[in-house]
Amino acid sequence: MAAETGTIDALSQFQLTPVLGPIGAAVGFSQSNAHMLLAAGLITALIMFGMSARAVVPGRLQSLAESSYEFVQGLVVGQVGEEGKRFFPFVFTLFMFVLFGNMLGLLPYAFTYTSHIAVTFGLAAIVFVLITVVALALHGRKFFGYFFPEGAPLWLAPIIIPVEIVSYLSRPVSLSIRLFANMVAGHVMLKVFATFIVLLGGLGAIGPLVAILPLSVNIALVGFEVLVAFLQAYVFAILTSIYLHDAVHLH
């Protein structure tokens, strides 16, 4: 629709529209929510059907389920330590949800729910509340010592404490902005180059030849976006584990 008017409209892909007819409109059920449900269903199906065979020599689906499980488990245990095992379900859910959101968004006609800061900040806020509650539950009042490192001169306290508090509060913000910005930037670039293909393709006889250039860029970009989709889910999970490590061990 962008190409018909001759302008590049890269942002309309992030607009929310209600689905499921009048019922969806009445409760504000958008395509973003629909994709979240789809991702949750796909993840559940992957684990349920993947593990239903319980074969000693895993088939394709089972080995996918097993390797994703082992990947996240290695990540959590490696970062948090043995006591981090109880946080495994949380990190695994988070990782799979972000990964499926990023990957589903790359399919044609699909919507990327991780491209909305409301979603990523919601996830990051859950992480933030969890790490704060875990640190308070495990260490009680000693948690507040986190904001003033031992051995620092006392007269610096009026500077160090606010700075540490701001730094601590900036964790969910940086966690959410990183994921959101990566997804938005990737999808805007894909859209811009896709519009170039259509615009250049309409330039008479030489058009289709020139349009090959943005087409090849887009092919490379799709591959790059698959990498970014995985990498950002990994970064989200590993930063969650690092914050959990800080909460459990409290330096």
Binding site: G78, V166, S170, S174, H249
Partner: protein, 99 residues
């Protein structure tokens, strides 16, 4: 077996000398491409600045001291941003590196 032990050690030293082993510690386990590191550092600074500014403005609105706390927390936000970047390269506490 004696030559075995010596060989392993010499191999490790040679690899370290040539920089073939990834340096432990730097950047933790995160991917270390220069673009990735630059982007991460930028996000850390911006988010700390945003938190500082928002916190300052909220406190100002509550206490009616506009714009003094805003200015103060702007500075705190900048310092926290620099500290976040510093922590990116020097994670605090040594337990993570061994674990």
């Amino acid at each position: 077996m004696a030559e075995d032990d010596g060989f392993e050690q010499r191999l490790r030293q040679a690899r370290a000398r040539q920089g073939m082993d990834p340096k432990p510690g730097l950047n933790g386990p995160l991917p270390a491409s220069s673009w990735g590191v630059g982007f991460r550092a930028g996000v850390e600074v911006v988010s700390a600045l945003v938190v500082g500014i928002v916190l300052g403005m909220l406190l100002d609105r509550w206490l009616g001291t506009w714009p003094w706390l805003f200015l103060l927390f702007f500075v705190f936000g900048s310092v926290a941003g620099v500290m976040n970047v510093f922590r990116l390269f020097n994670p605090r506490g040594g337990a993570r590196k061994q674990g």
